[in-house]
Symmetry: C2
Subunit: 184 residues, 2 copies
């Protein structure tokens, strides 16, 4: 199976640009909100990739709008490259979850510290779960003429499932590990 050579980050941006012209800022927001759970980009990266792709003719910069907004639109060449890339077998996922390292080496921590970290992270994950739940609901109750894209729905459901799993796992941690002593 031919493997992927071009930059996956760039390609993900191309994918979003199929929906219409977007600025770098918009792209960062869209990626973070919609697929932040399994794909991430930084501003720097996005602007860099946009420049590169513009040089390669995969996208084209539009006129500056208010606030120096610079919308990019995908070109015919861009669509072609994107399709070719998409049809190649995606590689395995990579995850970097520093909190899990902290848990793994938890015996080297003063008691209670791990619990603080977990509580801190729990908030973030609850928030994401709620966001995904909202997205799922919005998709399910989409009105009328534009039927919801089942592919988008599937990815959002992944996000929701992932967050649910993480939160359940937090709940499953033995009290002794996170320094919350058992009821006396």
């Amino acid at each position: 199976m031919t493997s992927r050579s071009v930059n996956a980050t760039a390609m993900s941006l191309l994918g979003f640009l199929h929906e219409g012209p977007m600025t770098g800022w918009n792209l960062v927001a869209a990626v973070t909100r919609q697929i932040g759970d399994f794909w991430s980009v930084t501003q720097s990266q996005v602007y860099r990739e946009l420049s590169t792709m513009a040089d390669l003719g995969l996208i084209r910069a539009g006129k500056l709008g208010p606030r120096d907004r610079r919308p990019y639109s995908i070109t015919r060449a861009g669509r072609k490259v994107f399709r070719e890339w998409l049809a190649t077998n995606p590689g395995p996922e990579t995850i970097r979850f520093p909190l899990l390292l902290t848990v793994l080496f938890g015996k080297h921590l003063p008691p209670g510290r791990l619990g603080e970290f977990v509580e801190d992270h729990r908030k973030a994950h609850e928030q994401r779960r709620d966001e995904y739940a909202g997205l799922v609901e919005a998709i399910e109750s989409a009105t009328g003429d534009e039927p919801p894209d089942p592919y988008i729905e599937a990815t959002v459901r992944f996000g929701l499932a992932y967050e649910t799993t993480v939160l359940d796992w937090f709940d499953s941690l033995p009290p002794a590990l996170i320094g919350r002593p058992e009821q006396p």
Copy 2:
């Protein structure tokens, strides 16, 4: 909360070195097997970090063994740095799951292609799930004098939960999306 400055990859190696001297090769294997689901390293990286840490005095190279095995052991300074690092708040996780991108943009794919990718990945995830299940069992039925480390158990359980979630999600994909037509 003070944030982390030193290299998390290096620190993860230091963590493993607490169990005793290990070679670069061993470290790669240990990380991949035990925590491959939420942390990953490449050989190159490991050898690079080992050199750096040796220069900094955090680890010490032992004598060459057979096959030029070069075991490193952690120093007192290394333990100190590790503990300090571990006690700082870990950052959020990052995930890069290219298959999910392929799903997200699935409408641009020829029918059936997505299904092939999913089947391919399913195998890998089933294997990982089984490995984690084996690890969990081994930990649970650990005999006698050395009680199993509950922190390690917790992380392995995360791996198992994660893989289960991914596989369930695969199963939940509508047949239409993956090109497996409904029963006629």
